[in-house]
């Protein structure tokens, strides 16, 4: 998979510009931001790393999670996601044109992997937190026709799209979801934890919503992943106010364990790290260590492919996945 296949570079750049404009409108006063402990481990000690678009990024001294601190409160963040022009563009200008490519490259393989890995859940109630267009549930429904698929989606617009695909919807944030305790066999949260004011709240809520033996499956950004580490503040993945939390395999596992889960797998199956770094060197003249410029210039396709595989194998890709069981 190549970055360009799932992320049109120009649309992405335009989107980032809109985000910058929205920051001025939705978060005009950083005085209103709140100081927060580490979103993964709760520790208070941290080291300042860099500022981007007026947001300060710090690294937790205990678990190395990179996070925005101080950060906007949950309510204005929610407002921003539901109404801002950049959020709208993300749906219409950025996501929709590559939606089918994403279905094929991301959601279908993801559904196949889960169906293969967790066959015992095939007839259970499945909840996708932040279901968006419902692509994942659509794909999983093909494989698990007897499961009950529920989209948990706060956006009225997205909820309507899911309903139009005959997917049952709970139109709320998961944190606000009431009366569904121990109902789900599987809850999924794809690329969500990095956006949240309090990822811990989601993990803890998921624990309550799952039946004993049920699984939480989440993907998020790994702050210790290759492209983020190499590009750091130049990384396009590091963009506030969207991406507030960059956990890492240990921090994420620790978070789930402290919420009562048994972690069955933490992996970094990302495929795009090298491609992102190479693209940043070529298109954005990103400054990196000399060795990455050498690899970009002289490395064969096979060499780059093997390097990416090595990154993924050793927990060094910035795309991270966790599977946790409620005992």
């Amino acid at each position: 998979m190549k970055e360009q296949e799932i992320r049109n570079r120009e649309a992405f750049v335009h989107y980032l510009r809109l985000v910058r404009e929205d920051i001025a409108n939705y978060f005009p006063d950083s005085e209103q931001f709140r100081t927060a402990p580490c979103p993964a481990c709760g520790a208070l000690e941290h080291t300042a790393e860099f500022a981007k678009a007026g947001f300060e990024y710090v690294a937790c001294r205990a678990c190395s999670t990179l996070f925005v601190n101080p950060r906007p409160a949950a309510a204005p963040l929610r407002e921003f996601y539901l109404r801002s022009p950049s959020s709208r563009y993300w749906v219409e200008g950025f996501f929709l044109p590559v939606a089918e490519a994403r279905r094929e490259k991301i959601f279908r393989p993801r559904a196949r992997q889960i169906a293969g890995q967790l066959p015992a859940l095939a007839r259970e109630t499945i909840g996708d937190i932040g279901a968006g267009f419902g692509l994942f549930l659509e794909e999983l429904r093909i494989l698990w026709p007897h499961a009950r698929m529920i989209a948990i989606e706060p956006s009225a617009e997205m909820a309507a799209i899911c309903r139009s695909k005959a997917i049952e919807v709970l139109e709320t944030t998961v944190e606000d979801l009431e009366g569904q305790e121990s109902r789900f066999g599987l809850l999924t949260a794809f690329e969500l934890l990095e956006h949240l004011y309090q990822p811990r709240a989601l993990v803890e809520k998921a624990w309550r919503l799952l039946r004993p033996g049920g699984r939480l499956l989440a993907t998020t950004l790994n702050g210790q992943g290759f492209d983020i580490q190499v590009l750091w503040e130049q990384s396009k993945s590091v963009f506030p106010p969207h991406h507030l939390n960059f956990l890492n395999p240990r921090a994420l596992a620790g978070l789930c364990e402290s919420a009562g889960f048994v972690v069955e797998e933490v992996s970094t199956p990302g495929q795009l790290d090298w491609d992102i770094v190479e693209g940043a060197i070529a298109n954005d003249s990103a400054t990196t260590d000399r060795i990455w410029r050498l690899l970009a210039r002289n490395g064969s396709e096979r060499c780059k492919r093997e390097f990416q595989a090595w990154l993924s194998r050793h927990g060094l890709s910035s795309h991270m996945r966790i599977l946790a069981r409620k005992p």
Partner: protein
């Protein structure tokens, strides 16, 4: 062209044991500073600017190390000391060098068994495989500017090469801190166009004019003769990451660190066809780890810090093998045939 990967258990601590290595480095640093600041009195010690022998351009200053200025060629990315002493001054210096004596008398003696196991034995196997593949009838092997007399003896003891010669351009032999047996000693003129296998082990990085040495190599080789060369490359992981903080960067012994591109072109330009170009180094990852552990303030490299803290031995091992496979280790070896 092919690339070779070695899977064995060579460890830096075996061939560069502390505190002996630190002592050697301290002597070396002291001597290096004095030669580059002019406080050592030797004839013709004048330092001259040095252009990249591959591109012909003046390289750009990048960092200072032990009194020497390392510059990088903007075209081929080789790292070169400039200005630098001429060969005569270097040879004169080496004859008198305390570091040289320490190496020969103390360090080499203490690490002899480890070097025998980790370096000379594989090197001998390598030469035998070169003979089998490219020069089955090879009889004359010449080692230019020999550094390890014991290796020459091992070469002789193999019984595979009727004539093993150590070539030393400067005279007289008696003054060199090098225990090569008299019957193996010769000057280059003795073997012009007669050498079947010419070895340049860690030579081109420590001579004042590497282009000239490669030209001489061609003159020494018989038609179809094979050049066997090892060196250190600026394209390698250790130097790419650590630059001037690389712990083994010693300006007198590593005056020329060519990039892989530059090395390929230089050897080709000298009239050789490259048959193998590999970087079978086994120490880059361990060296970088050790450096990061001992110098937590080294800027950048946060990805690697995390890597060494969390990823474990298997990841380090597979990384080193990856570096070997794609010619990204700092230790280079080349087999080339005189055209």
């Amino acid at each position: 062209m092919k690339a070779v990967v070695l899977r064995d258990d060579l460890r830096e601590a075996d061939i560069r044991p502390e505190p002996l290595y630190a002592e050697y480095k301290a002597i070396l640093e002291n001597e290096s500073r004095r030669i580059f600041d002019g406080s050592i009195r030797i004839e013709n010690r004048e330092l001259l600017p040095f252009d990249c022998p591959n591109c012909g351009k003046a390289p750009v200053a990048e960092f200072e190390r032990w009194g020497a200025q390392y510059c990088r060629c903007a075209t081929c990315a080789s790292l070169l000391v400039s200005p630098r002493p001429g060969q005569e001054a270097l040879d004169a210096f080496r004859r008198e060098s305390r570091a040289g004596r320490f190496w020969e008398q103390t360090f080499a003696a203490a690490t002899g068994a480890a070097r025998e196991h980790g370096i000379f034995r594989p090197r001998l196997q390598w030469l035998l495989s070169i003979k089998d593949r490219y020069g089955p009838r090879a009889s004359v092997v010449a080692d230019y500017r020999s550094k390890y007399p014991t290796f020459l003896e091992a070469l002789c003891d193999s019984g595979e090469f009727p004539q093993v010669v150590s070539l030393q351009p400067e005279a007289p032999w008696e003054k060199l801190p090098l225990a090569v047996r008299p019957e193996r000693r010769a000057g280059p003129e003795a073997l012009l166009h007669r050498t079947d296998i010419l070895t340049l082990f860690e030579v081109i990085e420590r001579v004042s004019n590497p282009g000239e040495v490669l030209h001489l190599a061609r003159e020494l080789c018989a038609p179809g003769g094979v050049l066997v060369l090892t060196t250190t490359s600026s394209s390698g992981f250790e130097y790419q990451l650590l630059g001037g903080s690389a712990p083994n960067l010693n300006p007198l012994d590593r005056m020329n660190l060519f990039s892989i591109d530059a090395l390929t072109r230089l050897i080709g330009k000298a009239g050789f066809e490259i048959l193998e170009l590999s970087t079978p180094g086994r120490l880059d990852v361990a060296t970088v780890r050790k450096t990061l552990e001992s110098d937590p303030d080294l800027p950048g490299l946060s990805f690697w810090r995390y890597f060494f803290r969390h990823c474990g031995e298997d990841a380090e091992h597979t990384l080193q093998e990856f570096l070997q496979q794609y010619r990204l280790s700092s230790h280079v070896r080349v087999v080339a045939r005189r055209q």
